[in-house]
Assembly symmetry: C2
Homo-oligomer: 413 residues x 2
């Protein structure tokens, strides 16, 4: 029998204790022995819950109890999650976490301690909720050179964009609806500004590159500027807008970004709707594969934690190599990435054709009936070149009253 | 350094040798040591290939060479694949195979020998080509009670159905096109009759149930009876027709079938087009997740073989538990499964409404302009009850000239 402690009895922590009870037999069969919950660490008491008699308030009890071999961290945030997890690993205990902030900020150090102490630091639940993605990267696609990972990694923003797409909602209305349904926080900044997606793609990039990735090096743009008018064009073009976290590896160079992107129906992530997540992986031999499922939610996320607990139980005396080393990965500047760009411009196309051609190249033009504006779709170009083009067009706008850029969105099609 | 032998230098076997060379460094890093190809067993010579000097024609050389620790079987078929694989396992060598016929027919026995000999018998490439699905079942979803696995598991039939759907092609034309493109064999029976899908869903069912599954117990219906007229109705209904291999586990009872099924756009497999495969897994805690990618093809399939080689290399002295035991699994009779049914009927709906209501229950009616027929969609019912209803309607047809059943297709929506 293996004894475990859960730190943080919130949504995911309580899901973990629930599955440990509910799927006890399956888990024991896979782990090779029973997994028993000994402690639940939380500041609160839970007198009416099934774990009432296991609640403790002192971290030291876990750290100093030699019976505890696997610790589950589902507190979230960095403090006290970081010192607690570090102390557990130093004490020779396996740690399993669902905490993307922790992994993105301190993954490299914690993995190094785990290697040194011959234990494991697992974090499947930190990205993609219940979707297996971390483990496939180190257990299933091991013979591949990963060339790209692109994910719809945040259910809240995907719900908002799906609602704007399907129902013509404004961003503000769709956000309010997401908040009413409990999909978005009262303060939605971490989701809608792309910060959550940024941490997740940083983790996936570190797994793919095998090196430390500083999430602050990743260009991050959220969805707050996407409007219902953009989706009117999208509908006419038969495409959709999704918030992507992407990393690309070519010739040892790594680029990564978070941004809303226009994609058409041939993209594997086109059909990922509502709160679902999807993660596309491109390998040099495999080509494209895609993993889809519940990117959040109590039981799906807790299920990923349970898989980590089982793998830790199967490897009590052994550090499972995950391929994420100590070296620091440089991220290429965003200016070097290539996209097409969707650009909404004020006025009518007629008197601007020559200027647009000169500045943006051979664009496609999209016009909506009855609007005092139009849009163009540029050829593929480097972000740096596009920014220069935007500046050149802005300069024209100063001289001509009906010039002006209303929106720019990256496009991959 | 670990030495390996590849048996069968066909499409997949040559893909394996290619990736072993091309991704040598990645593979060595993951496996913990270099993997060196020592022999390629084939009846033919390949004088101009990079493996020319490794070709052998005598199986005994592999079986009796103590240096060979991992053997790759990519011959296909049962003879001599089965005796060769068995002999390798008996000789204490790990075996990796892409051969679904072998795994479906002899998986239980070969896994038992591997356990006894403390080696591994891996077969990721036997289902879903390059899509990781076997390994997720024993490495990622270990804490789940698997309740359903449904897959589009055959690229050839999915290509044919996609072509019929998108272009209004007849089955015969779509098949010919698939043959011209090399997606279908000259003798396409194994694909279009569902036999290939049957073996694959048998393997997945055995993994999910943890028991031996006889693929001959699985009700199997191919796509040869699906017509362009069916897709006219499908278009009007906004749905699609896919060849599903499905298994369901509830209260320890296992049901499984292979059949074309109508699904709507809310089904996770709706967007799986052309030669791609997709596999949906439903767990009791996780809910639905889906794995998507190239279900066939030289390099994607070989990539799955390479992942197996690496896992064998990481576990040279240890049998990795895969949860597929010796016990035999009973498969519930098809009569007990529940579906809705799409039924195309001759004549016009008007004079038949009462009979249809009485026999099929409260159906939806779908009429196409200018056709001397119509269709109904029944409520959900057991297959056995539906068969009785069909017999009752057939009895009416004997008395009335414009009655008659033209088509029946299961529907899940």
């Amino acid at each position: 029998m293996i004894k475990t402690a859960v730190m943080g009895y919130g949504t995911i922590g309580s899901g973990v204790t629930e599955i440990l009870a509910e799927n006890r037999d399956v888990i024991a069969a896979q782990a090779g022995q029973e997994i028993e919950l000994k402690y639940v660490l939380d500041l609160r008491e839970f007198p009416d819950s099934p774990i009432a008699d296991k609640v403790i308030h002192e971290f030291k009890l876990i750290e100093e109890d030699p019976e505890i071999q696997i610790v589950v961290e589902t507190m979230g945030g960095l403090n006290p999650a970081y010192p607690f997890v570090k102390a557990c690993l130093m004490a020779g205990k396996h740690v399993v976490t669902s905490n993307k902030a922790l992994v993105a900020a301190h993954g490299t150090e914690l993995l190094a301690i785990a290697r040194k102490k011959k234990v494991n630091f697992f974090f499947e639940a930190s990205v993609g909720g219940g979707i297996p993605i971390i483990r496939p990267l180190y257990h299933c696609l091991m013979g591949e050179r990963i060339e790209e990972i692109t994910g719809i990694l945040n259910g809240t923003t995907n719900y908002i964009l799906t609602k704007m797409d399907k129902e013509g909602d404004t961003f503000e209305n769709a956000l309010r609806e997401a908040q009413n349904l409990g999909y978005a926080e009262r303060n939605p900044e971490a989701d809608v500004e792309g910060y959550d997606t940024c941490r997740k793609i940083a983790i996936l990039t570190a797994m793919a590159a095998g090196k430390e990735v500083d999430y602050q090096d990743i260009y991050t743009e959220g969805i707050t500027k996407i409007t219902d008018v953009d989706f009117k064009y999208a509908e006419k073009m038969g495409i959709s807008i999704k918030l992507f976290g992407t990393s690309r590896i070519r010739d040892g160079k790594v680029s990564a970004y978070v941004a809303p992107v226009m994609i058409n129906s041939s993209h594997p992530l086109y059909g990922v709707r509502d709160v679902f997540n999807g993660i596309m992986v491109r390998g040099n031999m495999l080509g494209v594969s895609m993993f889809y499922g519940s990117g959040a939610g109590k039981l799906p996320t807790a299920s990923a934690v349970i898989a980590d607990i089982i793998e830790a139980a199967q490897n009590l005396k052994k550090n499972v190599p995950m391929g994420w080393g100590d070296e620091k990965q440089t991220i290429e500047p965003m200016e070097n990435m290539r996209f097409r760009y969707f650009v909404r411009l004020a006025g009518s196309f007629r008197n601007k054709e020559q200027d647009i051609r000169r500045i943006f190249g051979h664009t496609e033009v999209i016009e909506l009936y009855g609007m005092d504006e139009f849009a163009v779709l540029t050829p593929e170009m480097e972000e740096g070149a596009f920014r220069q083009a935007v500046a050149a067009y802005d300069a024209l706008a100063e001289a001509h009253s009906d010039f002006g850029i209303k929106q720019t969105i990256r496009a991959m099609m």
